[in-house]
């Protein structure tokens, strides 16, 4: 234990001596693409579809593999190498599926008279709030201060938050226009880690930078509620899994 404390002390203390530019207040806006791992949900929906009655035929099955998110963060630079703050994020993944229903009726010339084409859209949304910290690699001693690299920033971000998630099953793909459908609320813990590389547009008296980030996030929610009409296989209610690689862009502004 003493060795661990000793190692941590030796690692952390030198960084604290680089305490420069501390006290800055900043905001960050970011947007990312997420490769999401929704096998559990996709397999479950496949199972539900396979149980459809014979008069319903699947025409197009789109599986949820990509999500998008938009985030807003506020942070405070406690030391040159670290800032801490709160982050919020809204992420969404969607799959649109088309099917055909033949309503039993007297055929005309061998063709069923009543054929209805419908769509069913499965949407997963996460509203996340949490705390995070950026470790500023570009404020370390070895990072050049004078040449072109002085305008490049590099940070490692870690964060932990709580997600209020929803699974929505509706015929309407554009939910922002209103919809009628099943809304199944669940929750989960969100963890994220990113590497950021950006360019400092302005340094003084305000600072602003723009860049790209890539990393990994973990978000697995609790099981969907069993009362849900889609989850009529009661013991197999799936979880929403938004875990996977993420990559996107960010913009910071502060003073």
């Amino acid at each position: 234990m003493k060795k661990i404390i000793g190692v941590l002390f030796c690692v952390v203390v030198p960084y604290l001596f680089y305490a420069q530019e501390k006290g800055a207040v900043g905001i960050e806006i970011n947007s990312n693409l997420n490769l999401i791992n929704t096998n559990e949900l996709n397999d479950y929906i496949d199972g539900v579809i396979s149980d459809w009655p014979d008069n319903m035929t699947l025409l197009n099955r789109e599986k949820m593999t990509i999500g998008r998110d938009f985030g807003l963060s506020l942070n405070y630079q406690v030391a040159s190498l670290f800032n801490i703050g709160i982050y919020s994020k809204f992420s969404k993944g969607q799959s649109i599926n088309d099917f055909r229903t033949i309503i039993p009726s007297e055929p005309i010339m061998g063709i069923p008279a009543d054929t209805v084409y419908n769509g069913v859209t499965y949407t997963m949304t996460n509203t996340i709030i949490g705390i995070y910290s950026n470790f500023s690699i570009n404020n370390m001693a070895f990072w050049p201060k004078e040449n072109w690299l002085s305008h490049v920033e590099s940070k490692v971000t870690i964060g932990v938050g709580y997600s209020y998630s929803r699974f929505i099953n509706s015929g309407e793909p554009k939910l922002i226009k209103g919809f009628f459908g099943e809304v199944n609320p669940v929750s989960g813990i969100h963890l994220m880690g990113n590497l950021k590389i950006g360019y400092k547009l302005v340094k003084n008296p305000v600072f602003s930078s723009v860049g790209i980030q890539a990393g990994y996030q973990y978000l697995i929610t609790s099981h969907l509620k069993r009362e849900s009409l889609i989850t009529f296989k009661e013991n197999e209610a799936p979880r929403l899994n938004f875990s996977g690689l993420t990559a996107g862009i960010y913009l910071t502004f502060g003073k």
Binding site: G23, G178, V183, L229
Partner: protein
């Protein structure tokens, strides 16, 4: 002529350029009164409820939570952006008598959860009265902050209803998932909020921090609510605008540098 009035009005203010360059983050929460005449008429219309016997309810007020980011370009004026979330809800019981034997009835009760929520964003301006010379020259006023806050933006409003069967002494029901179904309508409109803020300045040297009260008026009327790409109305022949206009009063917390 209009430009001349603007120049005459703002020129003295521009000469008072002090303490410019402050970057501020503001969190706020307010109580709001709404004028939801159309919507309250809809939720109490027997054709909309589908029942003859139900509780008369209305949505008259709600709460909002907002975030403002601003930058003081000059001492008396800051410009920035804002985002706001408003929410209000009520619940309504609908009663239905089932004749299970001739002359014998069981009452089925459905609980309808109704809510209105809005998401809006736009530009905000603060006219910083406490940076006027007379204010700064009074020592007892130096810790008091007073701003006129003007927010103008665009908002999206959602009206949502969901229902669930509730058990009674006579009937024990299984929901079968009905409570998970939502009927959601949306509309959008222009938002204008004007407020007077009065607060106490905790610190204003390296950092700026203050906390106080704000009161004002919100104008926020939207188009008729509709659902989906087919623009389905909640009730044929009835137009329902969402009017969130009314008085606002709340608290705010500012931090900046």
């Amino acid at each position: 002529m209009r430009y001349l009035i603007i120049v005459i009005f703002f020129s003295p203010l521009l000469l008072l350029s002090q303490e410019k360059g402050t970057f501020k983050v503001e969190l706020e929460s307010s109580y709001k009164t709404f004028n939801l005449k159309d919507l309250n008429g809809l939720i109490n219309d027997p054709y909309y409820t589908g029942y003859e016997n139900y509780d008369k309810v209305s949505i008259k007020n709600g709460f909002s939570y907002g975030l403002q980011l601003s930058y003081n370009f000059i001492a008396l004026l800051s410009l920035g952006i804002y985002g706001e979330y408003q929410y209000s809800s009520t619940s309504q019981k609908l009663y239905y008598d089932i004749e299970y034997l001739p002359g014998y009835y069981l009452q089925e009760i459905t609980l309808k959860n109704l809510n209105v929520r809005s998401y809006s964003f736009g530009l905000n301006t603060n006219i910083i009265l406490n940076n006027l010379p007379f204010w700064k020259n009074n020592s007892w006023l130096s810790r008091i902050e007073s701003n006129i806050n003007i927010q103008t933006g665009y908002g999206k409003v959602f009206f949502s209803s969901s229902s669930e069967m509730i058990p009674t002494d006579q009937m024990n029901v299984h929901n079968a998932g009905t409570e998970l179904y939502n009927d959601v309508y949306s509309s959008s409109g222009f938002q204008l909020i004007t407020s007077l803020k009065l607060g106490y300045i905790f610190t204003q040297k390296k950092y700026f921090s203050s906390m106080g009260l704000k009161i004002g008026y919100q104008y926020f009327t939207t188009s008729n609510i509709e659902q989906g790409s087919k623009k389905k109305s909640p009730m044929i022949g009835r137009e329902t605008k969402i009017n969130l206009s009314g008085l606002t009063a709340g608290i705010y917390l500012t931090f900046g540098r």
